[in-house]
Each structure stands twice: as C-alpha cells, then as structure tokens.
C-alpha cells in the first residue's frame, strides 16, 4: 500500500525539472537523517539530556565569511541588471554562505551568556521573519501584483541571517557598555 502511495507521489511530482530537484533533495536529506539516527548522532531514546552547549564553527571562519559576503555584494554591483547568470548565482548563494559562516562561527570567548544571546536573537528573528513573510504575502495578494512568485527563498534566508547577525551583535554591543 505504501509503495503504491509513494509511486503515486513520484508520478505526480516528477512532472518538471524543478520538482525533480525538490524530490531528489528530500530523498538525500531523508537518507542523511536515517544514517544519523542509526549512528546515534540523533538520539530518540529515553535518556535524553538537554545540552546547553552549541556545536559551532571555529572563530577564524568569521573572516572568510565576511570576505565571501562582501565579495558577492561587490559582484552584484558590477552586474546590477542581472545579465550574467553565473554572477547572479554567485551573488545569491555566496551571500548566504558568507552570512552562514559569520552567524555560525564562535565568538572570541564563547560562554553561556553569548549562548543565551544567540538563543534570544534567533528566536526573535524567527518570529519577526515569519511575520514579515506573512505580511509580504498578504500585501502581495491584496494588491494583486503577484510579484512574490518571482522572489526565491534565498532572499528570505538572507533576510533572516542578516537580521540574526544584526540583532546578535547589537545585543552584544549593548552589554559592552
């Protein structure tokens, strides 16, 4: 029964290239998840202990992150009308990778208060991101412009990452006083 259902879904979803990509990505992620469960990287057993430490990237990765992000912004400025496809791809993905490096690397002294700041800003940005997203979709529907279809999810991710970095460092700056 399940096999029949899966076959039906595949038939339904594999109509064009974009959906094939989505299906393949989900498939790969599912395999990674299964491997992680079997190697006990993710533990679903009863002896769950909540760790108050995040596994983050080393501190020095901040600098390549800043460099990649700045470089992709500069690349975007050289080709603002979006004629060169390679530069367009680099600008979107490069900015995301750079911002990820900045936000996921450790601070110089990573202690429990920094962890709390991370949690606070991440939660705040999640809520703000969802509200902004819903608002944009609503306004788009109200005006009837249907512009929103042309935005890719990369824009939302970049917005969330930028907002996270902004809130995290502004909170940290406030504490320095």
């Amino acid at each position: 029964m399940y096999v029949k259902y899966v076959c039906h879904i595949v038939k339904l979803t594999c109509n064009n290239k974009m959906e094939k990509t989505t299906l393949l990505t989900v498939f790969i992620l599912a395999i990674i998840l299964i491997i992680m469960i079997f190697t006990k990287k993710i533990d679903f057993s009863d002896n769950l202990n909540i760790k108050n430490k995040l596994k983050l990237l080393p501190f020095w990765l901040k600098f390549p992150g800043i460099a990649i992000a700045l470089f992709s912004i500069i690349a975007h400025w050289t080709d603002i009308h979006g004629k060169n496809e390679i530069i367009q791809l680099f600008w979107q993905l490069g900015l995301t990778v750079g911002l990820l490096f900045i936000s996921l690397s450790k601070e110089r002294t990573e202690d429990e208060m920094i962890m709390q700041l991370r949690l606070n800003s991440a939660f705040f940005v999640l809520i703000v991101g969802i509200i902004v997203h819903v608002f944009i979709v609503l306004i788009d529907k109200l005006i009837g412009a249907n512009d929103f279809q042309s935005y890719s999810s990369i824009y939302l991710i970049n917005f969330l990452l930028l907002a996270y970095i902004f809130f995290f460092y502004s909170l940290k700056r406030k504490l320095r006083k």
């Binding site: 202690d111 208060m113 920094i114």
Partner: protein, 66 residues
C-alpha cells in the same frame, strides 16, 4: 537575585577581567552578572564560589520576586 560579587572582588582585589579569565568567560558576562542583567548558570556560580572560597549562598542571594 542579589549578588555580592563586586564586594567579594574588592576583598580579593581582582578586576572583572582577572575573574573572567579564571572562570573562562568574557568580561562582559561578569559585568552583566554584577549589574543584574544576566542570571548565571549553576556551573558558573559554583566556579565563582570556588575562586572566592565561599559557599554559593554567601555570594548570591534569592530575592522575593524570583
């Protein structure tokens, strides 16, 4: 939560920076604890009590609104 961290530091004559180095946190964290902006974890409280050689209750005190 009230704390006597500043007084205890003055008794031992160490700066925020030195205390931070001893327990492996940043100076901002010590400052935030002293000014009651951040409530520290049990582990950090025990580390601080070890540095000053006093019980945790002697340094940190529960207030009514906690």
């Amino acid at each position: 939560m009230k704390n006597r961290l500043k007084i205890e530091r003055a008794i031992l004559d160490i700066t925020q920076e030195e205390l931070a180095l001893k327990i492996g946190v940043s100076r901002q964290t010590i400052n935030s604890i002293e000014t009651n902006r951040y409530v520290l974890s049990t582990i950090l409280a025990l580390k601080i009590s070890k540095v000053f050689g006093k019980a945790v209750n002697d340094i940190f005190e529960l207030e009514n609104e906690d």
